[in-house]
């Protein structure tokens, strides 16, 4: 037992010694880090006027601002990002992109191959921020290399390809070997230009389900009436979720010319489609749908009743219609909902 105690005491003692060593090391690192932060802040303060002259007034060529040290690099990066986020001027933006492309490119290229995951990911975000198209060959090389890439990296690389209008990104996003989540695809389509979105639409029959769902959402977000026919083509789908997304996108665009869609959706067996019918009537601008709305006010789903009540309240003479429902409907749920809407209307 004495030997065990001795071994344990020595073990714990050694562990404590190591930990105290670690405390000393960390304290030293932290002090160093705090100093570095101070230096970065100092750099930014010292050169604030010069940067303003360069980026906003264009009164110097920025040559003397080229970063040479790690601290300067960090400060410059921080400065450029701040300017980019806060100043909305084309000249300033162009100056930022040109400077970054010329003077930060080498550093970012090196960082793309860093052994640290977080450094690689940060770099990918910055390439996007500073629109450094010159690094596109490196991104492509990385995508086909043997290196193990995380999902976050792959998605960010596809975003870059999409952002720089590379058509082959559609095929890559659709690749079953790297299955992307719908949310990832949203993010990639978000940065695409109109032309590339059109290419996705043309490839519609070959797209994976998550791709289709994301495309329907994002097409709706663009609020372009040219997409109406594309969206309507999905209303016959056997996949309920796809039909709902197409209806949602139509509602988001805010225009509907094929009124049969509303009638069909209002008669659906699925409450989600009936709910969308109640919403679509709002954008149809047609009071012939009032009987449908009255029927939806007595729907089995609370959500549908609520949406129908909201639509009625937004129509011309909606308050009278709701009051009519309160006094004549035999459905207590419809009456409650109509009452809420009337009170809400009078309060607002």
């Amino acid at each position: 037992m004495t030997t065990i105690i001795l071994i344990m005491s020595v073990g714990i003692g050694a562990l404590l010694l190591i930990l105290f060593g670690f405390v000393a090391y960390l304290s030293f690192k932290r002090i160093q880090q705090n100093r570095e932060e101070e230096k970065v802040a100092h750099y930014m303060e010292t050169y604030a006027k010069d940067w303003e002259d360069f980026l906003i007034n264009g009164s110097n060529d920025g040559q003397f601002l080229v970063p040479k040290t790690k601290v300067a690099h960090r400060a410059v990066e921080k400065l450029l990002l701040t300017y980019k986020q806060n100043i909305y001027s084309e000249n300033t933006e162009d100056a930022i992109y040109l400077f970054a492309d010329k003077h930060l490119q080498d550093r970012y290229r090196k960082l793309l191959y860093s052994s640290k995951w977080s450094e690689r990911v940060n770099t990918l975000y910055r390439i996007m921020d500073f629109r450094m198209e010159s690094l596109l060959p490196d991104i492509r090389a990385l995508l086909v290399s043997e290196r193990a890439l995380s999902r976050v990296e792959i998605v960010q690389m596809y975003k870059l390809l999409a952002f720089f209008e590379q058509e082959d990104v559609i095929g890559l996003m659709n690749d079953p070997e790297v299955p992307l989540h719908e949310h990832d695809i949203h993010g990639i389509i978000y940065v695409m230009n109109e032309e590339l979105v059109q290419k996705c639409i043309q490839a519609k029959t070959d797209l994976t389900r998550p791709f289709t769902l994301a495309l329907l959402d994002m097409v709706g977000q663009r609020r372009n009436t040219d997409y109406l026919f594309f969206l309507e083509s999905y209303l016959e789908s056997t996949d309920l979720e796809i039909r709902i997304r197409a209806l949602k996108a139509l509602y988001t665009i805010g225009f509907i010319y094929n009124k049969q869609i509303i009638i069909d959706s209002a008669n659906s067996d699925h409450w989600e489609e009936r709910l969308m019918a109640a919403k679509l009537i709002r954008i149809a601008g047609d009071d012939t749908f009032l009987p449908i709305l009255r029927k939806l006010m007595e729907d089995t789903s609370w959500h549908v009743r609520r949406e129908a009540a909201v639509t009625i309240s937004k129509q011309q003479g909606g308050r009278d219609i709701l009051e009519g429902i309160i006094s004549s409907s035999k459905d207590p749920f419809a009456v409650d909902m109509a009452t809420e809407m009337v009170e809400r209307g009078s309060a607002s």
């Binding site: 404590l16 304290s27 640290k116 749920f333």
Partner: protein, 472 residues
């Protein structure tokens, strides 16, 4: 015979302690790998990217409040400051006897609204729903007292969005925390149905109008010790368990759930002390019973600031309540323990929580008694006592010290070197005062569980703000 009993006693405690140390060590390493990987990741850029994604899902934030007049305004302000595309804030006044309701009504110019409320879950009677004339996305529900779980169920019924976030009335959220805690839910395509963020102690920080302006450390050792304890729980539990979908506790102080799954699982259970853990265990159980593959995750980043008890009395109340809640959840779902039908949750998490968390205080208490007895009697078993004492130092203090070091190294929680040093040295004293006390409080919780005593366990709050916010 006596010798046999002593040997038996000693070896049970020894083996138990070694098993616990082993499992903590494993979790520590797994957490470190994860935390280390994301060290230095520029989360700000990732947040911006998430905000730009048009399809971030809307969230209803539920804030149950029972006598929270001191902290509620700060809490609502912190929620109004959140960076998130679409959310509503629902304060649920659960039969407060103080000025909670009136404070909120006055401060935010709340107007009564007639609302049709779907009864997805049972709850006590709702008397009124108010909407703010200043912030249309702020609602207050005034209802009969039914406990926190009941309040949350009422909030779920009133909520409009598909996800809800439950936070305590005395908590403050970081601006980006909702965006970050929703990340696994959004990016997983519905595979993750609940996520919890990490909770930090706000005492000592500069908080004004619902924002943490400067992170600071309280000078009260009892609070500092809780800071250490939160670090430790974070590193030696949640991060590692989350990697394997084995999380049983995501803090009720700040967590996000998919509404439809919670409603399907029956909502929060009323009449239990630890409704947050109970819900998580029930969700796991529901998923396995219905053969659904979903995940519940702990997200290390999002930070919710909470007020820690500053007195022994208040801490004792909190800890015995937590332990009672833990025991209740484990007991209610005892069928899952060692049951392979429930996968890793049944075969790993449940036994782990039973043995290490649930019964831990009993064995630890026995260990402390053994050490004291051997030292006082000066008997031949003093060497056994020294072995146990050394293991307790390793288990109680050294692990805590490691947690402080790794967290401050990787997460830059406290930028001041002096704060890190204070925490490091204080963690070494844990085993000599804080741990024995918490063992006794947890034992009390266990006794209360056995005798089924229950109450809201409300703690008196000082409020997190440095200065009172003037009412409108």
């Amino acid at each position: 015979m006596t010798q046999f009993i002593v040997f038996f006693f000693f070896y049970v405690i020894l083996i138990y302690t070694l098993v616990v140390i082993g499992s903590y060590l494993f979790m520590l390493i797994a957490s470190l790998i994860k935390v280390r990987k994301e060290h230095k990741l520029d989360k700000g850029i990732a947040d911006k990217s998430s905000m730009e994604d048009a399809y971030t899902k809307p969230v209803s934030i539920l804030v149950p409040a029972h006598n929270e007049e001191k902290g509620i305004i700060e809490s609502i302000h912190s929620l109004l400051n959140l960076e998130y595309p679409q959310y509503e804030i629902i304060i649920i006044n659960d039969g407060s006897t103080d000025e909670t309701l009136q404070t909120v009504i006055t401060h935010f110019d709340m107007q009564p609204r007639n609302r049709v409320i779907p009864k997805a879950l049972q709850s006590e009677t709702i008397h009124a729903v108010y909407e703010s004339a200043i912030h249309p996305n702020v609602l207050v529900i005034d209802k009969d007292k039914g406990g926190k779980a009941d309040a949350l169920n009422a909030g779920i019924n009133v909520s409009s969005y598909p996800y809800f976030c439950s936070i305590d009335g005395d908590s403050i959220l970081d601006r980006t925390s909702l965006l970050r805690v929703m990340q696994p839910i959004i990016t997983s395509n519905g595979d993750v149905i609940a996520a919890g963020g990490s909770v930090r102690i706000a005492n000592g920080s500069d908080i004004q109008l619902g924002s943490v302006l400067k992170v600071g450390l309280s000078s009260i050792p009892l609070v500092m010790m809780q800071v250490i304890e939160y670090f430790r729980a974070f590193l030696m539990g949640r991060v590692a368990l989350s990697e394997f979908n084995l999380v049983l506790i995501i803090s009720g102080a700040f967590s996000v759930f998919s509404k439809s799954w919670v409603v399907r699982a029956g909502g929060y259970a009323t009449g239990v002390v630890g409704e947050d853990m109970e819900l998580v265990v029930r969700l796991h159980r529901f998923m396995r019973d219905n053969d659904v593959k979903k995940r519940i995750e702990f997200v290390p980043d999002p930070v919710c600031w909470t007020e820690a008890p500053e007195t022994f009395g208040a801490l004792r109340k909190q800890r015995r309540r937590w332990h009672q809640g833990l025991m209740e959840s484990l007991w209610r779902h005892k069928k899952m323990t060692f049951n392979p039908k429930y996968g890793g949750v049944g075969t790993v998490s449940m036994p782990f929580f039973w043995v290490v968390e649930g019964l831990g205080p009993v064995v630890e208490f026995a260990g402390y008694m053994f050490i004291i007895w051997a030292l006082l009697t000066g008997s031949v078993y003093i060497e056994f006592a020294v072995v146990l004492a050394l293991l307790f130092v390793l288990y109680g203090s050294v692990f805590s010290m490691m947690s402080v070091l790794f967290i401050s190294w990787n997460l830059d929680t406290y930028p001041k070197v002096s704060d890190v040093l204070k925490l490091t040295f204080l963690s070494l004293t844990e085993v000599f005062w804080y741990r024995p006390l918490s063992v006794i409080w947890r034992l009390e919780g266990m006794i209360r569980f056995i005798f089924k005593r229950s109450d809201w366990g409300h703690l008196d709050r000082k409020g997190l703000a440095k200065e009172e916010v003037p009412a409108k």
